[in-house]
């Protein structure tokens, strides 16, 4: 069947390409070209899959093989959500792959880079298309592995590869990080919660007897019923989501994403902005309908159980929404004062992911969860497009400005092409109409307000102001405070500029077209989430007004500070040193993790030095020593002297007689 072939080419083929790249001789650009070719095939095949879905609608999963005894099957979902995600992932990978050809040229690990890059794409495609949860978990681990390897791509920790300000400490904790350390942190932060996620998947399997997402979706009320009856609904949901929270860098697991910026910039663009960190969002959006609609259906058949289940689910998703809101807020505040270009973008990524998680949380409170989820997906797409573009642009600035700190860059507005394109992307991030970022964020804000939950909503709304400020500050900063100046700034070659150019144009084009196709997209995506809503907007015009006003205020503030020079931001900062340091030191959360790490090393040391050494000495040294001492003394009286022996004999007889008498 043709469809199977497209799935194979889109998802499995990158793995084969990755293996081929590993075996290739590292001759000039060959590995990179193979990788790009593979990504191109993947993009085209995903496009065809999406086309089929659009044309003919969708049905059950596509299966390549089945191992029923262990519940594993190589089966892929065939629906609108997966189709769109596959196309998004492969398309962005292709764009970033082309950019990497330029960016990584001449790097000693060129082959290795493209091997992991292609492996990553395959894994990510698995995540967004797997029907079987084990298959999804496999891809999930694969993305983590590639992320680990690529964050630590520069394996020898040269000074210019670090992130953060060298020598900056909070208490005992370094606030800077080298690639190898960042890789380790990313791995620990994502891999350890994944074990819990696996436990969750297995408990779900034990309860329901299936690993298949499509089956779980179809029997959602049954699933919720079983879990609620066993009283483990909330534990299972927590186990299932903790991996996603960590992967998507939600508070308090966001620390790894910040230091992950030691990776090459295209890696940050692809893995730590556009795709892998979205895996958590993808997955949560995928499983949320099971609970949202399952509980609703259950309320019809079994009102009492359904009601308890529903209120438990609501509580859980409320926590999720709070977590999202805190993430969005906290990371946006950090972005306000950050000096490093990639850090600003990383904070912003985490913050935007917080918006998405808050949207997932809010979906339960809506009467049409699938609609809210479709907004989350829309924002996911929008963010992937503009943030990938911003990272690619940042890579060029860092290259040209020869520094990762924006206050050391020359005035970047002298690079007309690159900076104009980056403005398009930035305004999309800031949330200004008619850019795509405005529409999707606005749809989410409407959903937050509709929940009527004051705390998370207000945090999220304030964050809109911050977002508008820090995003425009990022580009305007050098306008007021240019670093070294005078040199000629070279634009990158046309094919490189066209990569982020394409994304910039997409971000505005999609924005302009949004009023036309936004509703259709929502309809199309929500088909994958059980219910297709008929009401297509919740119609909160106040929400639009509020968010637009906040965006404009933020932009105005940043313009008056860095362009019109009306506000002296440096003097304001110098008056608030403690706040500035608190934000710059990432709310001191790193101190906590760093000391947990130290504590474990210390526990290891204590175990080793006291327990293990003690046992070792006692049994391997003291015991043999004791026996040898014992034998030395016991041998002394046994010297072969007959008189002595007779004495012992008589003594023993006496002792025995005494025992016999008194027993």
């Amino acid at each position: 069947m043709a469809l199977n072939a497209y799935y194979f080419l889109a998802i499995i083929q990158p793995f084969i390409a990755s293996a081929i790249i590993a075996l290739l001789p590292s001759k000039r650009k060959l590995p990179g070209l193979v990788s790009v070719a593979s990504l191109f095939i993947s993009t085209v095949s995903s496009g065809l899959v999406l086309y089929f879905i659009l044309e003919k609608g969708f049905s059950g999963p596509i299966s390549f093989g089945d191992l029923p005894s262990i519940g594993f099957s190589l089966s892929f979902l065939y629906d609108s959500y997966t189709g769109i995600m596959m196309e998004l992932v492969s398309f962005l990978s292709l764009i970033i792959g082309i950019y990497s050809l330029y960016y990584m040229d001449g790097d000693e690990g060129f082959t290795r880079y493209f091997m992991y890059f292609t492996f990553f794409v395959g894994s990510m495609m698995l995540v967004v298309s797997a029907d079987n949860l084990i298959l999804l978990f496999l891809g999930w681990e694969g993305t983590g592995l590639a992320s680990y390897a690529l964050i630590g791509h520069w394996r020898h920790d040269e000074k210019e590869r670090m992130i953060g300000e060298e020598g900056r400490y909070v208490a005992n904790t370094p606030m800077f990080s080298f690639p190898s350390m960042s890789g380790l942190r990313a791995l620990l932060f994502t891999r350890i919660p994944d074990v819990l996620m696996l436990v969750g998947i297995i408990v779900l399997y034990i309860m329901t007897g299936t690993f298949s997402l499509s089956v779980l979706l179809k029997s959602s009320s049954n699933v919720v019923g079983i879990l609620a009856r066993a009283g483990i609904l909330v534990p299972v949901m927590s186990l299932l989501s903790i991996g996603a929270l960590a992967k998507s860098a939600q508070f308090p697991f966001h620390e790894w994403l910040v230091t992950a910026m030691t990776g090459p910039t295209p890696v940050s663009a692809l893995i730590h902005a556009a795709t892998m960190v979205k895996a958590g969002v993808y997955y949560m959006v995928r499983i949320t309908p099971i609970f949202a609609y399952g509980a609703k259906e259950l309320m019809v058949t079994d009102p009492i159980l359904g009601q308890t289940a529903f209120s438990q689910i609501q509580e859980f998703y409320y926590v999720l929404m709070i977590i999202g809101a805190i993430t969005a807020f906290a990371l946006a505040t950090m972005a306000l004062v950050a000096r490093e270009a990639k850090l600003i973008l990383a904070y912003s990524t985490g913050s935007q992911l917080g918006f998405m998680f808050a949207g997932i949380g809010a979906s339960i409170f809506s009467s049409h969860p699938s609609l809210v989820l479709s907004f989350v997906v829309a924002h996911l797409i929008a963010h992937a497009v503009f943030k990938a573009g911003l990272f690619l642009g940042a890579g060029i600035y860092i290259h040209v400005g020869e520094s990762r700190f924006i206050d050391e860059w020359p005035n970047i507005h002298r690079m007309r092409v690159t900076t104009s394109l980056n403005w398009l992307l930035t305004l999309s991030l800031a949330g200004l109409p008619p850019f795509i970022g405005f529409w999707t964020k606005d749809a989410l804000v409407e959903s937050y307000i509709a929940t009527g939950l004051l705390l998370p909503t207000s945090l999220l709304v304030v964050t809109i102001l911050f977002t508008a400020f820090y995003s425009t500050r990022y580009l305007l900063y050098t306008e007021r405070y240019p670093g070294k100046d005078g040199e000629l700034l070279h634009e990158p070659p046309a094919y490189v500029a066209s990569t982020y150019g394409l994304l910039a144009i997409l971000s505005i084009l999609l924005g302009i077209m949004w009023p036309l196709f936004g509703q259709k997209l929502s309809m199309f995506v929500s088909q994958s989430f059980i219910e297709v809503p008929h009401i297509l907007a919740e119609g909160e015009t106040t929400a639009v007004a509020v968010s637009l006003a906040l965006v404009l205020t933020g932009i105005a503030l940043s313009f008056s500070a860095y362009y019109l020079k009306l506000i002296d931001s440096k003097s304001i900062i110098s008056k608030l040193p403690s706040l500035n340091n608190f934000l710059r030191d990432r709310w001191w959360i790193n101190v906590f993790y760093y000391n947990i790490g130290l504590a474990f090393l210390r526990i290891g040391e204590v175990t080793y030095n006291s327990l293990e050494k003690g046992l070792d000495t006692a049994i391997n040294y003291a015991l043999p020593r004791g026996t040898s001492v014992f034998s030395k003394y016991i041998r002394k009286p046994l010297n072969g002297d007959t008189y002595n022996y007779m004495l012992y004999f008589l003594l023993s007889v006496v002792v025995m007689l005494l025992i016999l008498i008194f027993m």
Partner: protein, 507 residues
């Protein structure tokens, strides 16, 4: 029973191979040829085991080759359980036998020993050691198993004693005494079993487990306890592990690469293969204890590995921790746990062999360097060693694309299925397992970062020995290839284990 009718296939191959090796030892003049001969002589065994495992419908009994009253019948049983384990032993031994040549050559040179004669003796002992492990896993009789185990113990004892590092005489003795205590406890249990049962058979001539229903409760309990403790000593479970860091760290590295994953893993394997079917009731009683013990072993080994500074001792502690996984998965007592056990035996065999071999590669290329505090940035000096070591760590921590992914999956599945409904104790076991996984991931990649990544502490890139690198890469490729094979195998194994369960009357 079996589709394949080739009586005494295993026995013939085994004896011919050993005789051939001894003959070649006399004939061959150059030590390098001895290396080739040893490696090549693994091939017939691999071929016949493959044949017996996969072309026989899953169960191949070799035919009784020795039979005596009270002792029972000596036979070989190659099925879906023992076949892959046996193949792992042979495969790893074969690759490591090639690795051993440059390593031991350098070692003999440094110690001023005569190369030719020492190398010949080394290879003969090496082969016997490996083959005895092979024989023990396909045994069907307690006495037979014990004999093979003891031959393995003695040959490895001599290997450590003659070719080890440090205070090798003392350490060899330490190793011998400790593991011999384990073996003797097992033997006492086996003899008591034989006294009451009339024979030491575990599997009958058709390859089915013998019926032990009429064994007295008290006797069964004592026999089970003795054997269990014996095997836990072999497996270096917490408390019985004290010999392992010495033996595995001070053995010559190629032997460490066999000792660490292959030999000690036989302990949990035997618990599953012999004790679980023979004493289902006693096993059921001991499960919880065993699970806690396994979980604590994982955590304890992991904590020590986190601190240990000597590369080989670090790997030895990691092995203790990995044995905890095997013990906990057998304690799960369900099919998925058993699959986890078998897959993790294989995964750990390849992973740990890669890691010991890469530790050996550092020793080889950096003049005996073992202190990890002095290492750093080794990827610059020894890039291939570093890259394969990463795959080794992936394998033991359960990352794709290595077989470790599947073994982790099945261990978690087996343990969760067995214990999550058990209330607080069950949850504690799962929580300990989670801590154990976290520790394994932490120590692995923390050490990888310290040793291989970071600013290089040594000069320019060295030319790595092709034999050493070749065997490392072969092991790594096998670990990746098995990633694809493992789920298919696990699928078959589920069916096979289910059929065994049905035969045993649903016990």
């Amino acid at each position: 029973m079996s589709v394949l009718y080739l009586p005494h296939l295993m026995l013939t191959t085994l004896s011919i191979s050993i005789l051939a090796l001894i003959a070649l030892n006399i004939v061959l003049k150059r030590p390098r040829h001895m290396c080739t001969a040893t490696a090549a002589l693994f091939l017939p065994l691999i071929a016949s085991t493959l044949l017996a495992t996969f072309y026989s419908g899953g169960k191949f009994t070799d035919g009784v080759y020795l039979s005596a009253k009270y002792l029972g019948d000596f036979n070989f049983l190659v099925d879906y359980v023992s076949g892959p384990i046996a193949l792992t032993i042979l495969g790893v031994s074969m690759v490591i036998s090639i690795y051993a040549y440059p390593y031991m050559e350098r070692k003999f040179e440094e110690e001023g020993e005569q190369i030719s004669s020492n190398m010949k003796l080394f290879y003969v002992l090496y082969y016997i050691f490996s083959i005895s492990m092979y024989g023990s896993v396909i045994s069907t009789n307690f006495a037979e198993f014990y004999l093979f185990l003891e031959v393995g113990l003695i040959s490895s004892f001599i290997l450590i004693n003659n070719y080890g590092y440090g205070d090798r005489r003392k350490i060899a003795l330490l190793y011998f005494v400790w593991t011999h205590i384990g073996a003797v406890l097992f033997l006492v249990g086996a003899l008591a079993f034989g006294y009451y049962e009339g024979s030491l058979n575990v599997f009958g001539s058709g390859g089915n487990i013998v019926y032990t229903g009429e064994l007295m409760q008290s006797v069964a309990k004592a026999v089970f306890a003795l054997m269990l403790v014996g095997m836990l000593v072999k497996a270096a479970a917490l408390g019985f592990h004290l010999w392992l860091p010495y033996a595995h760290a001070e053995a010559p590295t190629p032997i460490s690469a066999l000792l660490s994953p292959l030999l000690i893993g036989i302990g949990p394997y035997v618990i599953f293969r012999f004790l679980y079917p023979l004493f289902p009731a006693q096993f059921g009683d001991a499960r919880l204890l065993l699970a806690v013990w396994g979980a604590l072993t994982i955590v304890y080994g992991g904590l020590n590995a986190l601190f240990e500074k000597d590369f080989k001792r670090f790997l030895a502690y990691s092995s203790i921790s990995q044995m905890g996984y095997l013990i906990i998965s057998v304690a799960a007592g369900n099919i998925y746990g058993f699959i986890g056990l078998i897959l993790h035996y294989i995964a750990h065999a390849f992973g740990k062999a890669i890691l010991f071999a890469s530790a050996g590669s550092v020793i080889y290329h950096e003049n005996g360097l073992r202190d990890m505090r002095q290492m750093g940035g080794m990827l610059k000096t020894l890039p291939m060693t570093g890259n394969t070591a990463l795959l080794g760590f992936f394998t033991i921590t359960g990352m794709p694309p290595t077989i470790g992914f599947w073994s982790e999956l099945f261990i978690v599945r087996g343990v969760v299925e067995a214990f999550y409904g058990m209330g607080a104790e069950g949850l504690a076991i799962i929580a300990l397992l989670f801590i154990g996984f976290s520790l394994s991931i932490s120590y692995s990649f923390y050490r990888y970062k310290e040793v291989f990544q970071g600013p290089p502490k040594f000069g320019a890139r060295k030319k790595e020995d092709p034999f050493i690198i070749g065997s490392l890469i072969t092991l790594a490729i096998l670990a990746i290839a098995l990633f694809i094979v493992a789920p298919v195998y696990a699928n078959y194994l589920t069916g096979y284990l289910n059929s065994l369960k049905a035969l045993a009357g649903g016990a």
